[in-house]
Symmetry: C2
Subunit: 330 residues, 2 copies
DNA sequence: CTGAAAGCGCTAACAG
DNA sequence: CTGTTAGCGCTTTCAG
């Protein structure tokens, strides 16, 4: 058990090794009868071709690698890790591929790793050091970046959210809910926040709502707390907050200062982290749709492997989950 | 580039293939000089041995598999997935092992998977179907279960939390904070909740606090809401809640009914999910220490591979994170 | 301490 | 449609 080789199957079935191999790989042509017999035998004796041998002989490892920015707080908070891994593995399983996780991304030599494991594709989440960029060019396997805003390599694939549209839509919802004085909250030097701000600006114009109001602080709960204090002294009645966690801080300050949410002021956050469901009121938020990103990443890889034409840059629709911070009845 | 084989290294260095192989694997004996020369050359030309070939020749794949209960809400909520994967991969990277994720655990034939990929060890999170249990016995590689309460196989390794102690400690903290009427909240038919309840009972006795009070409902926010309504009408001043999410619901109801937390009633939850930091007040909670579990899992696997003696059952210390729901100043 | 040679289990031509 | 055979790149005896 477990020591069976393709030779054993050939011998037992009475066919040649190459016929068995062909049947396994769906190559060449053999009678349906032969195929059935061989498949049946393999099943019966519990034979599974050894992957290392297949890889060695064919260079096909049936392995895709994935790399995460382990220290990134935001990725951690919104469970993107898990959502992406789940959708990726479940897509891969359809083609009996497995997913390997890259250890120690900071020191990992991606190229060597890909070579060593004969990876057939790589998914990279988040931004990467510029220094790694170069070496990536040398890899001749499909690479997909998810939520990468720094790099702009030719010949690799990008999957992103349209954060500008996210900011626009969130603000628009606020406007449609009769908010007249809508402010934007975010952090400096965070690319996605800037984009969301752009969307916010467009929406203001679109809805012919007055001057824009911008509040900036650290993308933390504490940052939100501080901003909330300030905001509670204004006539702002709508808030587009580029981070759920900041929004929590803001809500806390606002509530403490006697503001009612959503009656006095409505709020929409970004990221749709789990905690949105447990605050009082619950927080409406823009979901970045990580499951979809994982699925598309796998599609892109296979399409590139199979040499099909496909879009190298894809933007995944966001969707806004409305909760108690915008709707009066939760 | 990338097409280099051990032969090339042998030729270029002037040594034989087997010498190079020995140097790579630290086997045999060769002069330090030789080693240095060979290592230097490999570095210089960027040579990395091909893993498939090594695996085929030696049966050592340098690959560990991991399996997750993808549908398990609780595992999803507390980010255990990510914490375990992070600590596991970072431990593995020290020995240049990689981690593969098992696709589709429900249908996955673990044995065949292990064979096919020549896995050297498997980590399984959570409970598994009984039907899978049998087949696991046939695998002759180290298996580690983390947080598995159903199975009890001989010859495999278990890593768990001592939930009874968790319940005990949480209750004790409440008692030390002058709570006189402490209740336990949990769900029926959840093994860990029962254990935590046991600990709660012991702690009551230990602290010579009166009769026990037990509240049961679904392990959801809504379950907590319902229970909170009831609890707010009692003289309970301390709550040991077997799930953070229930605790959130309870807090919400309690607050709505005019109770002050922690002044009137102190609360400790279980799981220490991220959201604990964003509620008002923040929620004290028992942390299950998933990072440590991942590290220990890897240790166990390597110790078994290396044939060392080690404990097959290990309980990982929990630690209680105190926040605003127990301490008056947050 | 080093080298030659025999596989590991499979795929991929190439004949038949 | 099927069988033979030569590798894939590495490890591992076993002589030297």
């Amino acid at each position: 058990m477990g020591k069976l080789t393709i030779k054993d199957i050939a011998k037992k079935s009475g066919f040649s090794v190459s016929t068995v191999s062909n049947v396994i790989n769906g190559k060449g042509k053999c009678s349906l009868e032969t195929q059935k017999k061989i498949f049946h035998l393999m099943e019966e004796v519990g034979y599974k071709p050894n992957q290392a041998a297949r890889t060695l002989a064919s260079k096909k490892s049936n392995l895709i690698g994935i790399l995460f920015p382990v220290e990134d707080e935001i990725f951690r908070k919104n469970n993107s890790y898990q959502k992406i891994v789940n959708s990726v593995t479940s897509e891969l399983s359809k083609k009996s591929y497995d997913l390997v996780i890259g250890n120690n991304i900071k020191e990992l030599d991606i190229l060597e790793w890909a070579l060593k494991r004969d990876l057939e594709g790589i998914i990279i989440i988040g931004d990467l050091d510029i220094s790694k960029e170069k070496e990536l060019k040398k890899i001749n396997i499909p690479i997909v970046f998810i939520d990468n805003y720094k790099n702009n390599l030719y010949g690799v694939n990008y999957i992103n959210s349209d954060d500008t549209i996210g900011g626009f839509n969130a603000t628009e919802i606020l406007a449609k809910n009769k908010c007249k004085n809508i402010a934007f909250v975010g952090s400096e030097d965070i690319e996605v926040h800037s984009r969301r701000y752009l969307g916010y600006q467009s929406a203001l114009i679109e809805s012919s709502l007055g001057e824009e109001r911008l509040y900036l602080d650290q993308p933390t709960y504490e940052g939100g707390l501080a901003l909330g204090e300030m905001i509670s002294k204004t006539d702002i009645d709508g808030l587009c907050v580029a981070s759920d966690i900041m929004a929590f801080g803001i809500m806390s300050s606002l509530l403490k200062n006697g503001k009612k949410i959503p009656e006095d002021i409505k709020i929409i956050g970004f990221d749709n982290i789990d905690s949105c469901r447990y605050t009082t009121p619950t927080l409406s938020s823009v979901d970045l749709n990580f499951s979809a990103k994982g699925i598309v990443a796998v599609q892109m890889i296979f399409e590139e492997i199979e040499g099909k034409f496909f879009l190298r840059n894809q933007s995944i629709d966001l969707n806004i989950v409305l909760r108690g911070s915008t709707v009066c009845k939760n």
